[in-house]
Symmetry: C2
Subunit: 200 residues, 2 copies
């Protein structure tokens, strides 16, 4: 039995969703057709709209529909001299959810990965260079991921900061709060030891 062309195309297209295999894609397609056509249509519209209108903030590179994002436009923040550098917009979201950080961001949209052809320019370091050259930033917080690539990217940016006499700091790595020592990976444990602080 051959499924109809539009149904086959829909099942195929659903596989672009992370974690959706052929079986789940089929289940989702039939679910929408049988029980939620208006939801399916709305999702179709929202996808086309979002993929079309959501670009990147000209200043910090996070997702934005306007030339500048809400954070860069925020009156409370625009004079901040603190710049937090992260790999992706979801990192901005995670940091904002803590409610503790009041500075600006710069989103790399990735990390240095020379073997994949991702050099400084691909992660916007030319834009960052220009930003730092203006002298409006006192400290850069390097919040890239604690991976080999994230560390390499952080070190590269730290050198850029030195060029403009901007302080650069790396976020602390160690035990997650509430974590158990014997369940944490060795790299994290090593960081937790080397980053130890005196209690006296």
């Amino acid at each position: 039995m051959q499924l109809s062309p539009s149904l086959t195309a829909l099942i195929e297209a659903l596989r672009c969703l992370p974690g959706i295999g052929p079986k789940s894609a089929q289940r989702i397609a039939f679910h929408l057709l049988e029980r939620d056509r208006s939801g399916g249509t709305q999702l179709g519209d929202s996808l086309l709209k979002a993929m079309q209108v959501i670009g990147h903030c000209e200043s910090c590179r996070t997702f934005s529909e306007a030339p500048l994002c809400d954070i860069c436009l925020s009156v409370k923040r625009q004079d901040s001299r603190l710049l937090c550098i992260v790999e992706s917009p979801t990192d901005v979201l995670a940091i904002e959810q803590t409610g503790q950080y009041q500075g600006l961001y710069f989103v790399l949209m990735g990390h240095l990965s020379p073997l994949d052809g991702i050099g400084p320019k691909e992660i916007g370091l030319d834009v960052l260079d220009e930003k730092l050259s203006k002298g409006n930033i006192d400290e850069v917080i390097l919040a890239t991921n604690p991976t080999v690539e994230g560390e390499a990217t952080a070190h590269y940016i730290a050198e850029l900061c030195q060029k403009y006499n901007v302080d650069a700091s790396r976020i602390a790595h160690g035990m997650p709060v509430g974590g158990e020592l014997d369940l944490v990976d060795g790299m994290t444990l090593m960081h937790a030891f080397s980053g130890r602080r005196s209690l006296s």
Copy 2:
């Protein structure tokens, strides 16, 4: 931090997918925007197309883009005098995948559920009545689900068949092949006992 309107709308719309909560919806939206915009656009197009062009076969009510579905149009089947009645198009798919059934189908798109306002007409039993009245069907196989509603629906249709002197049979319920007796639910076990066949 406020997400941009189109991003918020996309995350909201993704929740129409079965099993996708707010966290997963956000993860999917960012994944598509960061890494697969062409996939997202294609999915948007496919959804709109499918929701618009996929209707129901005029003869068997399964999903079809044309007035009649491939099965109803099949030369090998159109003279079949055997009609299998199922609740949903996915049931047709499951039966077709066995490759053993060569008759026609009728898809109820649900089951009788008077409390939800789903009566005979809502599941196409007026169409089925007319189909049976023409005298082209010798036997109806009732393959609705083995649930309270599925059984009630099967019994209702069996009576309709009696009116036109059409044989009606119910698919067998019992132990799934390869299943373990102590892991199967009581209702299935009961069916397995009452449907036992003599081996002598």
